[in-house]
Amino acid sequence: MWVKLILLLLFCLMIAGAVYFAEPSKSEEPNSTSRTPQGSLRLLTWNIGYAELEDDTRAHDKDLPAVADVILREDPDAVALQELTGDAQLKTLLGLLKGRYRGAVAQQGSGDRFEAVLVKDTRATFTPVSARNRYALAASFRSRRDSPEVVLLSAHADAFNAARRRAYTEELIDWAQQRAQSTPIFIAGDFNFELKAANESNLYTDNLKHDSESYSHILRSFRDLGRGAGDTAINDRRIDYIFGPPDLNRVGRVEVLRNAAVGRMDHWPLLVEVGF
């Protein structure tokens, strides 16, 4: 009888322990992203393409009014967009933005889709960045007339091959590091890294290793500003990033705008506010 009593007691004790040590749910956690620093730079990145099941997975013209609405509502200083069909689509979007932004698309690389950057600064300059048969696009701009110049790089790494993602990332970071001494550099875009650690125990694969190498390489020189914001794409994936200088004064609002996607988009925009 005493054995059963001890086991019952132990069982109850363990249940009580599990309840006592249970972590608070996300809604109970303090909101660390609500603080808005003064004199901040607001950046947004968004892959506005469609999920793989669609015939054309690039951005669709019919979604551009909704994209423009989100940009006008959130009012970022600069926007990194991915998977546009080309210059014509960018012009349509700039028209919908009522002339409040300037923009450019990257050169066409080996793929059929383009990265783009939109900025409010009318004196901004745009620079194509070549990396492994692809082109990213950098914009140099000022968030205010008296603020220092910053660079935002819009990037999109290969969706299907981790080794190509790694080689692409290495070249982008090389480009960024050469300029990071003189100008704060922000790198934003869809990197397709599959690195989710929570509650999984995958065995070792070369793809994981490549993504791990790529992400770790970026973190040697940059800070992952959207780390706490959660998934940015369907199927619980965090594959869109904004990387910034490691010595930023403040990181304010960091949010994935989960109500923003329209049509069959598979990504949500990531918004980050930082202070210098």
Partner: protein, 283 residues
């Protein structure tokens, strides 16, 4: 109770399967060493260096502690649960199969004490297996791969979401913690196997049923279709033991999952005792 424990320990140390489990683990370490060595050689030179300019997989990364960690994490998922299931699954059903269970139960001992002593012996076996395996990996790692700090990167092993490092002495301490947390997690399998051992009269059946349940939940838990069910599988809770290898140990989460595993173990043991006390032993 102590006499019972002494007798069960004697049985354990006389069983060939006890020594077989250690021999298989030695074989696994040899296999891991070969794979790790050749992989490290490939990834720190030649084609890899030509293809990529930057790599964390320097020779410094591939050290004895990294080797021990990989070996431990790989084996814990698939190898150690098999031995624990075999050990626990044969405890009652093995006695039934050899015809000694009836004789034991005619002695003036309670069935609950018998179950408890068999479970404690199984727990000791699990602890010894894990401690031996960790120790062997560290020794082999030291001799054949060399010492260094334990560097962790996001992705492989899914331990961290940002690059981190555990200094050598601290890392050795973490392996000690892993022996404790790992054994605690394995007790869930031991308790399940003991329950199966009471339900089934064949040790093979008991072991196979336990492994089947474990593997089914483990695999189903990794398929995204069943993502919403994952938190309810004991295999998910068992993963807590790995948290001791995170640069900052999440103590609250660790105690939570350790308690959940403890509840599974105690609950399964209680069910085993209740069923065994009502069981009509005819073999």
């Amino acid at each position: 109770m102590f006499t019972l424990l002494k007798l069960e320990l004697e049985k354990l140390f006389r069983a060939r399967s006890f020594y077989l489990s250690f021999i298989v683990l030695i074989g696994f370490v040899v296999l891991m060493l070969w794979g790790f060595y050749t992989y490290a050689a490939r990834k720190t030179g030649g084609e890899a260096v030509e293809q990529f300019k930057y790599t964390y997989e320097s020779k410094q990364y591939f050290n004895g502690l990294t080797f021990a960690l990989y070996s431990l994490l790989f084996s814990f998922t698939l190898l150690l649960p098999i031995f624990v299931s075999m050990s626990a699954g044969s405890q009652i059903a093995g006695e039934a199969r050899t015809g000694t269970l009836r004789m034991i139960c005619t002695r003036p001992i309670s069935r609950a004490s018998l179950v408890l002593s068999k479970f404690l012996v199984t727990a000791l076996h699990a602890g010894l297996l894990l401690t031996f395996f960790i120790g062997l990996n560290l020794v082999v790692g030291l001799i054949f791969v060399g010492w260094g700090n334990l560097e962790l990167y996001p992705g492989p092993l899914n331990l961290v979401d940002a690059p981190g490092k555990i200094m050598r002495d601290d890392a050795l301490m973490r392996f000690g913690y892993a022996a404790l947390s790992g054994t605690w997690a394995l007790l869930v399998i031991a308790a399940l196997a003991l329950l199966c051992s009471v339900i089934f009269d064949s040790p093979v059946q008991a072991t196979v049923m336990t492994i089947a349940a474990y593997l089914t939940l483990y695999i189903v838990g990794r398929v995204e279709f069943f993502e919403h069910l994952r938190p309810y599988f004991f295999t998910t809770d068992m993963d807590f033991w790995r948290d001791v290898f995170k640069p900052e140990i999440p103590w609250q989460s660790l105690w939570h999952y350790a308690s959940v595993c403890g509840a599974y173990t105690a609950g399964l043991l209680l069910a085993t005792v209740v069923i065994f006390e009502r069981k009509d032993i005819v073999t």
